[in-house]
């Protein structure tokens, strides 16, 4: 018997969020533009959110959805701080390339 959530099989959710998460990870690893890295991080968070919501629905347990709200709140805060950093960075270096910021070392 097929396990479903909202009429869609659970496997699909898992595959989709795995794909989203992997794209996020690879984006973070490969791209050099700070804004894109930032977006990739959001992608990973949302992949996790999707999975949580899917399983919450499947188990009829609301706590998964509560978690999602928390994650969204944290992500919003993170975006606010992160974008502020990015703006300051751009003002100082006229670029958003992370490889420019290589002076933070021993």
């Amino acid at each position: 018997m097929m396990t479903t959530a909202q009429g869609i099989p659970l496997d699909y959710y898992i595959w989709l969020s795995t794909a989203l998460f992997s794209i996020g990870v690879l984006g973070v690893l490969y791209r050099r533009n700070a804004i894109i890295i930032f977006m990739c991080i959001e992608l990973m968070l949302n992949a996790v959110n999707l999975l949580l919501v899917a399983f919450s629905n499947y188990y009829n347990n609301a706590s998964g959805q509560v978690f999602v709200f928390f994650i969204m709140a944290v992500a919003a805060a993170e975006v606010a701080v992160g974008l502020a950093i990015l703006i300051m960075m751009y003002r100082n270096t006229k670029t958003t390339d992370i490889n420019i910021l290589n002076r933070l070392k021993w």
Binding site: N99, L101, R103, K105
Partner: protein, 640 residues
Amino acid sequence: MVSTDILISLVPLLPLAGFLIVSLNVKKLSQGFTSVVACGVVLLSFIIAVYLFIQLLGKNEEERFFSVTVFNWIDAGGFSAKISFLVDPLSSLMLLIITGVGFLIHLYSIGYMHHDEGFNKFFSYLNLFVFFMLILVMGSNYLLMFVGWEGVGLCSYLLIGFWFKNRDYTNAANKAFIMNRIGDLGLILGVILIFVQFGSIQYQDVFTSATSMEVGAQSITLITILLFVGAMGKSAQIPLYTWLPDAMAGPTPVSALIHAATMVTAGIYMVARNNLLYSLSPVSMHLILVIGLATALFAATIALAQNDIKKVLAYSTVSQLGLMFVALGLGAYSSGIFHMTTHAFFKALMFLGAGSVIHGLQGEQDIRKMGGLKKYLPITYSTFLIGVLAISGIPPFAGFFSKDEILAHAFADSPVVWGIALLASLLTVFYMFRLLFLTFFGKTRASDEVIHHIHESPANMTIPLIVLAALSVAGGFIGVPEALHGSDWVGEFLRPVFAKSQPLLQTHHLEHSTEYALMGTVVGLTIVLIVVAYVIYVNKNIVPAEESAELSPVHKLIYKKYLIDELYNAIIVKPLYWISSVMESVVERSGIDRLVNLTGSAVVGGSKITRLLQTGNIGFYIFIMVISIIVLLASTMIIR
């Protein structure tokens, strides 16, 4: 009985209070106030001691003691130690000596230390000493005795090095302290063994369980020998005696109080207190006898050739302590204690007399620069003469009865022991009269400058001399032997302390006629020697040779104290320095130091390499982070 308990606790607490009052205000107090406080507390202790003594006199033999438990000091597992005091005939007698003679010496010190800038400090040390000495003799367990034992050692150190600006004096203080430490190691090991063997350190428990032990048990022998090592250090017996003559660096009242009358007799007290244990071990008794005899003879010969008035008295003290150990080794405990009592009187008297001479001559201690002082210092002379007569054993002075008792016991044991003890006491007679004649008789050899300033000591110095002289005359009558129609009162008084060990000892009884013969021989020989000394040092007016003069080899050897100090220097001190320097250069510098430095440089080197990981490249960091997370996840899966 409550009041008696409080009184007993007050005996040591009063000198402690005196010490605290004086030492906490050492810069502020006037000399007058310090004198009143310091002497007053000791006098009060003495009055209480007399009261307790009288109380004890009125009791039956079986219950002739007070014991007080003040509080529980340590209570851990099977080990418990109490702050508790025992006043039995033995400690009561000690109390009288410590507080009585102690008070007289405090009084004397007021005059003697009058010009010293450290007056207050001196009296605070003296009070502290009296406190610790009282703890030593009153404590009713081994731990409390040990506390007192260490405390008097500390005070001895402080007072020997009282004039600490003089390098030699501080060295003498160090020497005394270190030598005593060697003995104390033996004592503490003995106490630990007692706890292991008997499971208690309370005298009463130990002696009760010891009564059922058999004679010659190995553990008892070990315990008693270790305790005796402690006594060797404190009471200056061979081989740990060399600190006592050097201890004369301290002010003279200190020599009188600590190094003649009280502290050095702590060893005698300790052995007498443990008489039951010693009686159970014939081996230890023999050891004590041999060491005592050797010390008595050895120190007496050294005293023959010394020219420093205090050094002669110091060697005489060592020799007399040896004689007391002879008595203890023979099992004649009460004779040993009796001699200790009379010795406390006449030796303190002679030290104070010597102090009076030194005071009168502005610090001169060399008897070659004295002579003819009889007419300048009449009170000092007459009291010193009484002291010399007492130590020489001229009847009816105190020393006669106590020394005679020891010699009688020695003869009963074996004529050889008697012969050696007699020789030692005859040498004592000779060097004591040599000292007396060279100091007070003949023509004066002091410079005119000194003669001009010479003066008899003030009253607060001469009164103690007179009181001690009276005691040196009368003190012997507390122990007149049966042969002279006396009752040996002191022996009777002390009987309960030694009662348990009596069945273990073989006692020989001498015929009265033998005793008379012995007394006659001793007194006869003594008088002959006095005459010889008189002829040599007064009639022929022979003065000991100057430092530079050539001496005969034997004379030189004795004058140099058998080179024992040099021997110890060569076989112990020098090798110790050598080992220390090797330890410093090899173990310390190239061993420990190198290891510590290696740790430091390893951390620095390791950091130098690992810091290269921090490239500053954010992409690299993220990559490492992702890889690490994957590895962590993978490892948790594998482990599961």
